[in-house]
Symmetry: C2
Subunit: 651 residues, 2 copies
Amino acid sequence: MQTVRKTALKMQPVGLKDVKIDDPFWNPWQKLVKEAIIPYQWDALNDRIEGAEPSSTIKNFEIAAGKSEGKHYGMVFQDSDLYKWMETVAFSLSTEQDETWEQTVDEVIDLLENAQEEDGYLNTYFSVNHPDKKWTNLKNDHELYCAGHLIEAATAYYEATGKDKVIQLVSRLVDHIISVLGSEEGKKPGYPGHPEIELALMKLYRLTEDEKYINLCKFFIEERGRRNPEHYYDIELAERGGPNRSDERTYEYYQAHEPVREQKTAEGHSVRATYLYSGMADLAAELNDEELLEACRTLWENTVNKRMYVTGGIGSSAHEERFTVDYDLPNDRAYTETCAAIALIMWAHRMVQIDADRKYTDIMERALYNGALSGISLDGKGYFYVNPLEVWPHTANCRHDMKTVKPTRQQWFGCACCPPNIARLLASLGQYIYSSNESEIYVHLYVGGETEVDVNGQSVRLKQETNYPWEGNINFTVSSDAPTDYTVALRIPAWCRNAAITVNGQAVDYSEVNGYAKIQREWQDGDQINLTLEMPVEIIRSHPQVRENAGKVALQRGPVVYCLEQADNGENLQDITLSENAGFSSKFEAELLNGVTVITGKGSQTDASKVEDELYTTRSFDRVAKEIKAIPYYAWSNRGEGEMTVWVREE
Amino acid sequence: MQTVRKTALKMQPVGLKDVKIDDPFWNPWQKLVKEAIIPYQWDALNDRIEGAEPSSTIKNFEIAAGKSEGKHYGMVFQDSDLYKWMETVAFSLSTEQDETWEQTVDEVIDLLENAQEEDGYLNTYFSVNHPDKKWTNLKNDHELYCAGHLIEAATAYYEATGKDKVIQLVSRLVDHIISVLGSEEGKKPGYPGHPEIELALMKLYRLTEDEKYINLCKFFIEERGRRNPEHYYDIELAERGGPNRSDERTYEYYQAHEPVREQKTAEGHSVRATYLYSGMADLAAELNDEELLEACRTLWENTVNKRMYVTGGIGSSAHEERFTVDYDLPNDRAYTETCAAIALIMWAHRMVQIDADRKYTDIMERALYNGALSGISLDGKGYFYVNPLEVWPHTANCRHDMKTVKPTRQQWFGCACCPPNIARLLASLGQYIYSSNESEIYVHLYVGGETEVDVNGQSVRLKQETNYPWEGNINFTVSSDAPTDYTVALRIPAWCRNAAITVNGQAVDYSEVNGYAKIQREWQDGDQINLTLEMPVEIIRSHPQVRENAGKVALQRGPVVYCLEQADNGENLQDITLSENAGFSSKFEAELLNGVTVITGKGSQTDASKVEDELYTTRSFDRVAKEIKAIPYYAWSNRGEGEMTVWVREE
């Protein structure tokens, strides 16, 4: 008999199948995923993009399956690119059927089945190139990472199609992993150098309710960073016969410097960290493990209050793609990997289900509209791996310490983790919008469309209409077959100073709990809720200890962070200053960058006509008025190479 | 019969033997060189400094001389550390006899003679470790660089002592070089990857008047960067059988990307560049080669007007220790190697002899009092290789892109080029102060002491008394056996807005030519000249294209650039702002940092009591008054680890 666990979840996300997006801002992105990104990335996985670095991803599986010859090419984690793409297609099929792509994925699953070994093992790098080295380098070799992405793809595909062939495939893989890794006698007590499988196992557990999956997840999380008395990475290193280059990294890089419950600061590789924290949150929630939850909350506060860019980007060091120290947030050498912003969204989404606090969803929204969306070009064909907050092409192109900064988006990458990651985020956007529990519907994000949710035994539909993020007016229509008593909880973003809510045109009483406006009543079919979020142009300042932003301001309107681009403001953006009395105004420009609201205002710049050739001078420079124009940060670099800055000097 | 060349020199430096320094600012440094640095560095060369990286320099020579066993240890250019030390001792002996050190150097010369091979070859790395690889990698292997430093040491030692054993030794070495390298059939048409021997050969030529030395120098300079049609570095690379890691560097790194006459911008490794430019200036002056001179002037303007820090530091990239692009001058990742500031002084010193323009001596002074002097601690036992203009220890200690920045001076370095270089600069300071020609005495630097110069057939003594750089008042007393007509040319620094000159208390007429106040008269024995240079605290701004200094000011008083240190101003220096009405005042503090003039003034900083934990906020922060205290940049990091910044935000 299975024990029913009391979880720590205050709500559950409304799944993709129950959410339909119909929104002026997001529709084009949704269309892009289906019509451009999925086909483009499929071509990339099949090495059909001219001029891009070859992927060899499909080819690797064909070789492993015995259908092609040669050696594995690419990264040790190349398989995961396919899995993330599969997950993207699965998400897309959840919201809209597409026989062609479904058939393609079915064929891919057949290919995977052929590539899978007898004992359940599946990883083309090792099967093809190094069959003798399986599970010998958990720290660096990404076998569990790839397995995690396959599990995620499998659960998404099953949820989209009901087809369980891929679930059987991953259950054979996980059974194999369980036979190799674990605390039992004769198994290796190892855990992944790149966390990912933890959160994937929690998805598989929630789907199947088979405890072996949560138990494996728990093993990986609890074992991490322990010394018994030896550190597992030292044990396997000795068994491998000594270090190679990757072994120069410290355990902080892998979040394995101490047991996770004792970790207080976000350390190391930022994607690994936030995938881990997401898995920790899932496990803690499911087990109602308050100590582990508290560890997640502590890590959260450190991440977002000390180590996050205003765009929601994280990871301020290109070297080791990592967090550094509190308040070290250089803009021109920000690493802020697209994947890290996405992982922050994933983590935030898990935390809000537990704590029902807008502080998580505010960050989720910040990363979504800024640091994640900047990872992809408006045409879906260019990607940023690194999302800096300042770019100076002349300097970035010559300085070695800026070598990861690309002034324009790239077609694809040798290490192509980010493009499929942004694709799966966009394809799965629906699941981030709503949550519910027995008596409440939470609205986390303002995205037009509809959802259907069961509350208090009644199926309730909620329709959302808005021109967000350009306008702060959101209309909801509720409908149900019978009047029903429940709560609609609307997030009032912390960036909003004045919010107003009416129901059927009348002001209503509501309580605000942790930033959610909770309107409880017996809702009638056709009731209208109007939420108005004031969104003037806001001048943002950083904590005074953020050295790189001292004396600088950023512009934000609603959830959107702005930047100045050379295309609108000329060169030498560092010379421009803004004042609090800049008279900022905003205006929607339908023709610009697929339609964006721009900010204009008065600033000043040095009177160039009076500047002489001196490098240093005791003169002060005359300044002249300068009309500035700011565009949303996510939309930068869609008009050729040029300077860009988010933070602008304050007069 | 030797042709008498007409040189382009407008004056000649007054040599060390004819200059005595007696100056409150410089006496302690001179004493430090003799009493601390020379012995300390001799211990370092002999591996007797506890806790410092071993040098093995003397040991290498002993091995090469057959007096010790083992392999060469250290850099391929390790020999040069000894040569620079020898040069330092020689300079020191020029101004003051010291039998012990003279005997030590004589013993070193005996050792060198034993280490020198039959054919004149002398380089311990190759003699000991790779005798088969001599002259096969001129691009990277520093054989000519080491030879250059030996030649410099030899000429200095000969000038100090009149002993020519070491001159004979180097002439055998140079004869060997001439037998191997050159444009003649059967020789390799190669030239050094690290320039240095060019300026050394010019010293040897000027000492011996033997044209073979200037001809070899000319060959090295003219051949550099040529394609005939192949680039020499490609030829030798092919002969070596292909590239290794060092061969990833571009030809710009070596200033070999094009013939030197065509080079317009300062490129590549900044020490190599400025050593080369110094040699080019020497050669051009000696040959009166206007085209080559013009190349030097063009490179000078680019260097000092586009690519130099306010401290006189050059080389803004740690990667390849190089120049980057115009106006790219990050303060926290400045490389600004001590050797590069010294090389800039050497180059400036050569240029002013040719063009008689203070623009060179102003830079010489800037680098001397700031970016060069910062390379050594006040006790002479700590050295900076890298001289950043901002240091944030927490960040510098963790960020990989700041890994060359050390928050405190080091005892010694594996690559120990800088410590002996700063020592030889200090020991040879006397030669930078005065120049003369038939009828003029130029005073470039204001350093107390005396010189004796022949002008218009008369021996003239000039005595200088001053408390410079802390005070701008300089008294000169001239004396000679008979009244003599000549010109005293005093540099009026460009930083000085008001200068006044009196002779015997009376205002005098003088012409100002290229920044030199020329007072021509029949001077009487005992005539007094008083020069008063106003030196208020000046607020310095950068060209608006220097991105890192936008909105910031630096403080300078006289030639001294100031900085804020945490020891005086607390943490978070980036939060401090200054205004033009800061009411700056200066005051000499005899007990502080061996006696420095400090600057105090009013600034402001964020009211820390009102700062909350938010990383980003729409609030503006209240600011409170802050009394700031600035110390001379060269004296920073003598009171433990802490923050430091030269550039401070302007209110």
